[in-house]
Symmetry: D2
Subunit: 349 residues, 4 copies
Amino acid sequence: MKKRKVAVLGATGTVGQRFISLLAGHPWFDLAALTASDRSAGKRYGDAVHWLLATDPPDGVMDMTLEPTGADVDAEICFSALPSEAAEEHEAALAKAGRHVFTNASTHRMDPDVPLLLAEVNFDHVRALEAQRRDRRWSGSIVANGNCTAIHLSLALAPLQHDFGIERLVVTTMQALSGASYPGVPSLDTLDNVVPFISGEEEKVEAETRKFLGAWDGRRFVPADIAMSVHCNRVTVRDGHTETVSVALRGRPGVDEVKRSLRAFTGRPQERGLPSAPKRPIVVREEPDRPQPVLDRDVERGMASVVGRVREDPVLGTKFVVLGHNTIRGAAGASVLNAELLVAEGCLG
Amino acid sequence: MKKRKVAVLGATGTVGQRFISLLAGHPWFDLAALTASDRSAGKRYGDAVHWLLATDPPDGVMDMTLEPTGADVDAEICFSALPSEAAEEHEAALAKAGRHVFTNASTHRMDPDVPLLLAEVNFDHVRALEAQRRDRRWSGSIVANGNCTAIHLSLALAPLQHDFGIERLVVTTMQALSGASYPGVPSLDTLDNVVPFISGEEEKVEAETRKFLGAWDGRRFVPADIAMSVHCNRVTVRDGHTETVSVALRGRPGVDEVKRSLRAFTGRPQERGLPSAPKRPIVVREEPDRPQPVLDRDVERGMASVVGRVREDPVLGTKFVVLGHNTIRGAAGASVLNAELLVAEGCLG
Amino acid sequence: MKKRKVAVLGATGTVGQRFISLLAGHPWFDLAALTASDRSAGKRYGDAVHWLLATDPPDGVMDMTLEPTGADVDAEICFSALPSEAAEEHEAALAKAGRHVFTNASTHRMDPDVPLLLAEVNFDHVRALEAQRRDRRWSGSIVANGNCTAIHLSLALAPLQHDFGIERLVVTTMQALSGASYPGVPSLDTLDNVVPFISGEEEKVEAETRKFLGAWDGRRFVPADIAMSVHCNRVTVRDGHTETVSVALRGRPGVDEVKRSLRAFTGRPQERGLPSAPKRPIVVREEPDRPQPVLDRDVERGMASVVGRVREDPVLGTKFVVLGHNTIRGAAGASVLNAELLVAEGCLG
Amino acid sequence: MKKRKVAVLGATGTVGQRFISLLAGHPWFDLAALTASDRSAGKRYGDAVHWLLATDPPDGVMDMTLEPTGADVDAEICFSALPSEAAEEHEAALAKAGRHVFTNASTHRMDPDVPLLLAEVNFDHVRALEAQRRDRRWSGSIVANGNCTAIHLSLALAPLQHDFGIERLVVTTMQALSGASYPGVPSLDTLDNVVPFISGEEEKVEAETRKFLGAWDGRRFVPADIAMSVHCNRVTVRDGHTETVSVALRGRPGVDEVKRSLRAFTGRPQERGLPSAPKRPIVVREEPDRPQPVLDRDVERGMASVVGRVREDPVLGTKFVVLGHNTIRGAAGASVLNAELLVAEGCLG
């Protein structure tokens, strides 16, 4: 199979770096272009990037030349790690120009015709692309990922929503520093500290989770009817968001039923054996003190959500902890998996 | 006024050190004895302690000789920082021998005749001491403090319980390392990590909060009828527990009413101007990103609970964040304040 | 005694905050003005500052109005926490306009007529002020502090230089995050990491230490003739720089002689009992594992250097560890002490 | 080639875990036995271990049964991660019983007939095994690794010793938490702190480095004649020791000559293409702020020393920073490479 040309938009940031790392040696995709703001365009990637991953950059990438982000990028698929304003400026133009944009930016996530795709959970949302292309007169498309916190929450909730139905939930997050990109959180704010606030995050998690778990009715997205309260906190962890979840499920299933539902969960990426698909999208652990970021964030190459401490909740019925890698499954890895799915399903032509 | 002789039981641990630091120069109490396990008894305090507080130990204390913990300690009031087994062995014996024991150990907290005292909240619980002395034939007494997490939660909930009534709540904690004493949590478990489990803690917080907010009916403690779900986590913070709280209040008061209730709260320690009483037992902050451990744990000399982010909760009605110093108001400081209150009220004879 | 009016220039940064905290309730100085860049001037201090100290800001300060930094500030003494460019622009103008500027900026530190003053060590350097005023036609003056690392190193070396003479030394520093101000070091660079580089720091420490320990010969500063090699590192500590020192002393004194020399050291601030003077400018500890930032940085209210592990060095003869608070004695506190000394000595008229 | 049976002694600790991780799927070695203290012997490995590595344990290992450490272990090669006392008790007995012991324990490191082997540096030291077997009447052998700090220091010094000769050096280390094993350093000692002391470490680094860089004269080890001063510190880093080095080289070579020497260095493991050999045993970086633990510890799968900031030293002539993974190249990986080398060279029969 001929590899498809792909570009990473906004390649110098933490999510851009993850994209590059995940696309190196990808069996279907050929990393053909890296873009950056006009300020960095023209530079050698290695001179412009402050590489932050523990693994060295893939061979060759450091010598690629950064292009300005623009609609003429020579790639069929564009993975976007653009900041919001740049996403606003460029993503629709790229889609109009025939590119398939898989974006991490929040800009288009809640657009009424943009699928917020979580590959195991709501593949049928891609049906919105027909409307998107028709109404916007685009030959390309935009498919969005959710916020890193919403992705892992929704992945853990999806089987419960399917098997039981969800009435309401209360979630508290302890989010990693890499979620704020670089330079991000100043060290004086994080050493020996917790910051109980992340601007705009609680609203995003609530809205996006409802969209993930909702339906496309042929004309619009109908959000899941779930009452949700989210408390977001920043903690001193490099990668891996931890979330405590108290949830009311219909029929009040027991702890064993809940675990069975979580463990049994798979979706199209597993059926089709996509290159980036985790074997187990949800890993359930039995130890009393797991999941922990340092021990569990890299399980299934960072592509799974790890659930632990499933137990009865005296207020809402069921509670558990879910943890996932925020820049892999929570960002770049989710986009790559989405792109693989659309390729495998023939949705990109 | 002649100062009363006091002892610190279990003086070498982190809570013992806090007691010593708080009792230095105390206007009513004279630190007359320090006790330790048989292994350390006989040693100079300075040779036995691994002093962990940022402030140097008070003059003279380092040269005091550690006594074995036992019923013959020469002090009217004993502040206990004993581990559970030692508390089991010694506290009742001391009370029998006429000492007034103010304890941080969990051993007697849920005893049916031991007041779990939170000075601003449930002073009337001291009426249980009559039954305690009579039934146990003690000339002394035991008064317990709650768990550090339960104390700050209950302090924040007390005015809401009084002014509105509490139906149910979901709490997630992010607890400091000093709560696990020394050596406590290994650094390999805490660097770049969150541990979503503290053994026995969730059960303690739920039971103790209900006892704090409950009533003494003349014969027994009637716990408050509140459904409660607690998720406990250990984070990389030296001192200061942070708790996110979602709570259903009767009558669904608005955010401003809730803040007014919290701000207006005072109790007997403030009325009587006790030496260790915070001027404001609950400090309410308006900034979107407060309270934070590093900035707020030492407010009111560590004796207050700091509440922030009071807002509407889509599931339960009201939510907020509460933070407090776990070894001052959450442990040693609470005991000292309890002792001051009982002295001021004439309950110790 | 009537208090002298003082201003803090660059009042919103981390050093500016320390100045404010140290000047609150100062017996000789009256905090009359706070300045900031034009962008913040006109704002209420409380609205412009991101307060980072664990202690709340002194009463009243939050309501002061920030003035633009300029030569017309209404204060006799100006404590400068200005960044380099602003210091370049304003400090000389202020001195010309009759203000006495005590500065933390590096701009004028190495000027041939500006005393780099370390109050216990080189008071005679103030004789340079005559030349400064005469040659520059200033009615005011500029007196500089050293870099935080150079201050604590020089304080520890001063008695050794005096009592034995120093030939050469090798120093490795482990410096705190607050030394990089705010936002400063990104948390992703510091969590689970050491950064073995601080731009320009090694050169500053070497040059300033030689100036501190050198002489004013009536016309110019003659740097001490000491060969010095400095390795600077940033570690994950909030406050308190730790430095390992290997030093060749003339006459190869024994460990006990070295400790005696360090312990016996005092200077004019101690003789005159200045308000901010530490009782012991150098505290020598005997424990094998001290000094440590978290335990020792606040000793003598952060105004001392703490030395430990004095022992024989197989290569250079003597080695030890020195630690000190970088924003108190290493910055704001040093300036305040310098100002007190010049007031007490009648050098400010 | 038939795989050789190997055992890991002391398999539950942090170094034991690294051994297991490195031996999984090893092309030459078959992990046949895991041993532990009598307390854990008989347990399933998965029930006895507190697994601390970010990668999950290899398949099958968790179900192996722990054996008591003893001379009858069924393995030709024993990798020892035993604590000192257990090493004292068992290692010689195993060698007597014909096992080849590759040990991380400090017990036998300085024995006059035990090679302290660093595979690229001093292969000729294995000639001591003849004397060892003859004099001790052993059919097996003991080969030791150095201390983690000494290994990376000696690896970086070896080419400089060879190409120029070393006169003396001053080293300051910033060592990772995993070097103290588990539970190791309490988190209250490490958060927001540096501990400027590691018991016994400075002496070990000095003695072992001299042995590494010394010679076997046919009858005994002659240590290298190098004056050395080492300052050891514990910092808040999970893995990766950082060391600042000031060194006097004969002939005072320039910075470029030093870098060339470091970069050109290889040894027998590279010549023979051993499975665990790093391609480059010393990686030299040019960036001003490297090496850093979080970015560089895993280079060459943790088997290299990473050197940066090579520059002139005003006191000793040359200075640089060296960093290496302390539990891979600094412990388990060094032993595995040593064993591979002895197998490849036919030294194990």
